[in-house]
């Protein structure tokens, strides 16, 4: 039987390489595993992966290459929201199923028949944070978001969901992704006197925030986003990381999970495989690609390579337990995750501890 060509677009280099790099590696690893196990319905998989460098224009040229030159039957990625939004018009037009690994909620609302995603929406992440705050009795917060798509989307969710949880955002500030110092913003927030600070960004910015907060002797809780959910954050922020609270996929705390947790086994396997193949720690971001490949593999079964069928199969996926959470796609929900996909963790003595 001929091979199934599947495409991948990730930010392997550039600003979002912390996302794209593990995603690419994971996809390559998974394809290898599937092929080693005999492929799908006897068809081998072939992965064609391009680097978007986090640049929408590059993503567009990559997607065109995948669709028209490589003629793939499905595409996984890209890693970031703008690059995803930039290419959806092309995948829709060509009727190629797309499973994005980006978090932005705009990707799957409104739902488009051809577009799916595996990363948890920031909607859920914010809900998890606010839920935790509610239990901790926090009422007034200051927020500090990175000025890119990730931070902006987080800010929108933070602002729009606050009321629901009885939380008041008294100040919202932002910082540049490459800023070396965020003390002015923190000093301003400190002066406003909130109960907690929420920082929404991806490494290394939040580590700078954590350090600066420590220097300014800010002693209220500092919440981070799932964007820093990797050991790198602790390494960067050093002792300033202690006490930071964040929502994260379960992958970071696999060993702390209850044995009854259905994800535990999946995560352990993935982790082991990844760490055997590549040096370096597994991160939650690779998990997005892990799930995307598995979901796609599931959908490919019995499709005979027909794109329409693959799409239908994807949409019909139920109870798939992956690295990110349990997926249940419906025609109304192409992300398919529930709030249970997140756990809240606190960093103590340089390691993660589960918060209940």
């Amino acid at each position: 039987a001929d091979v199934y060509k599947i495409g991948g677009i990730f930010s392997v280099t550039g600003r979002a390489s912390f996302l794209g790099d593990p995603e690419k590696k994971t996809m390559e690893m998974m394809v290898e595993q599937i092929n080693a196990a005999g492929g799908i319905d006897g068809h081998m998989l072939e992965a064609v992966i391009y680097d978007s460098e986090g640049d929408p224009a590059k993503a567009v040229s990559a997607v065109n290459k995948l669709i028209h030159k490589d003629q793939v039957i499905a595409i996984i990625g890209p890693s970031t929201t703008p690059t995803t939004l930039a290419i959806v018009n092309f995948t829709k037009r060509a009727k190629v199923p797309l499973i994005s690994c980006a978090a932005g909620i705009k990707i799957t609302t409104p739902v488009d028949p051809w577009v799916f995603k595996t990363a948890q929406s920031d909607l859920l992440a914010v809900a998890a944070v606010y839920q935790q705050m509610k239990t901790a009795g926090i009422k007034k917060i200051g927020i500090l978001t990175v000025s890119n798509a990730y931070g902006e989307s987080g800010k929108k969710q933070l602002l729009s969901q606050a009321e629901e949880f009885g939380i008041q955002v008294i100040l919202n500030e932002s910082f540049g992704a490459k800023d070396t110092d965020t003390t002015p913003q923190l000093a301003k927030i400190k002066a406003a006197g909130p109960d907690a600070i929420v920082c929404w960004g991806t490494n290394p910015g939040p580590a700078v925030v954590a350090k600066n907060a420590k220097q300014l002797k800010i002693d209220i809780p500092l919440y981070q986003s799932h964007g820093v959910g990797s050991p790198k954050f602790i390494e960067l922020a050093q002792d300033a990381a202690n006490g930071n609270i964040l929502p994260t996929g379960k992958i970071l705390v696999t060993s702390l999970l209850d044995d009854s947790d259905p994800q535990k086994k999946v995560l352990e396997d993935y982790q082991k495989a990844y760490e055997n193949k590549y040096s370096g720690n597994v991160s939650g971001f690779g998990g997005y690609a892990f799930d995307a490949v598995n979901l796609l593999a599931g959908a490919l079964k019995g499709s005979g390579g027909d794109k329409e069928k693959i799409r239908d199969n994807l949409e019909a996926t139920k109870n798939y337990v992956g690295a990110t959470g349990e997926f249940n796609f419906t025609t109304q929900d192409h992300n398919g995750l529930s709030p249970a996909a997140f756990v809240m963790v606190e960093i103590q003595n340089g390691t993660w501890t589960l918060l209940k």
Binding site: T183, Q185, N203, P204, E235
Partner: protein
């Protein structure tokens, strides 16, 4: 009030970072009339070399610093020898694109050597921040401001007072006449690039503890350094210093007092206004051309 002091401290710290970078750029301009768009990459190399030498290999601080500076200088020399000097009858814009290419090259090389993840580094001296008027000042900030001052002052004296320094300037303004005076312009070029790259590395070394270092940190820093050098007035080392501080303080005050999202825009609007009023920068060189 306390916040304002805090904004100022923060501004001075970032500003001093920009200043050190601007000094390197300005120095190179004085002695070659060239702006090196890869300068930020030398800053990055300095910082990452420091990560390797000090954090990874655990060399003593002075040795690590010397090593990182040497690495920067060496790269500068190699760059001059193989890219700048081999260029045939170069126009300024051609050389600029060469430096842009070199920047991309260095960035790519650093990505392969050090990987894509950022690194952090401990401060040079005690960890605790010093409190003044209720605002926190990092010891590392004092290190950076000192480095900026020493570099600006030292290079200023070198260019204005020593024969070699003046000869470097002479080469930059009129290569033909420099040849005829027996000034070996090639050696001068090497020297200029070496020193300037070294300055870049120094900047990287000193800022590594307060920020995170990664292969892609250089571009934005180089850009800010360029702006600082322009605001100060090209070729003036004190101008570069002042321009850097000004840029840092404007950004920080803009973030604190107006809007952190617009802070860069605010800083740039003010800088443009300054340029409109003083088209040659704050410390503009005297016009030396006439009919």
């Amino acid at each position: 009030m306390q916040e304002i002091v805090q904004y100022l401290f923060s501004g001075i710290t970032t500003g001093a970072v920009y200043a050190v970078i601007a000094v390197g750029l300005s120095m190179l301009y004085s002695s070659t009339e060239l702006i090196n768009f890869a300068h930020g990459e030398f800053v990055m190399i300095g910082a990452l070399a420091m990560v390797t030498l000090w954090v990874r290999l655990g060399l003593p601080l002075p040795v690590a610093v010397a090593g990182a500076v040497a690495a920067g200088c060496m790269l500068g020399l190699v760059f001059e020898r193989f890219a700048i000097r081999t260029a045939r009858n170069p126009e300024p814009i051609t050389l600029i694109i060469i430096t842009v290419g070199a920047g991309i090259f260095l960035k790519g090389a650093a990505m392969i050597v050090w990987g894509k993840d950022p690194f952090s580094m401990p401060s040079f001296s005690s960890h605790e921040s010093i409190e003044i008027f209720g605002a926190a000042l990092l010891p590392q900030s004092i290190w950076i401001v000192t480095a900026a001052l020493v570099l600006a002052g030292g290079i200023h004296l070198f260019l204005k007072k020593t024969i070699t320094g003046k000869a470097m300037v002479a080469c930059a303004v009129n290569k033909k006449a420099a040849w005829l005076s027996g000034i070996p312009s090639e050696k001068m070029g090497v020297l200029a690039f070496g020193i300037s790259a070294g300055c870049g590395a120094v900047a990287g070394i000193f800022i590594a503890p307060i920020t995170m270092s990664s292969y892609d940190m250089g571009t934005i820093l180089g850009l800010k350094g360029f702006c600082a050098a322009m605001i100060g007035g090209l070729g003036s080392l004190w101008g570069a210093f002042a321009g850097g501080l000004l840029l840092g303080i404007l950004e920080s005050l803009g973030a604190g007092l107006i809007s952190s999202g617009l802070k860069d825009a605010i800083a740039f609007v003010l800088l443009l206004l300054i340029l409109y009023i003083r088209p040659g920068g704050l410390f503009a060189a005297k016009e030396a051309k006439r009919f």
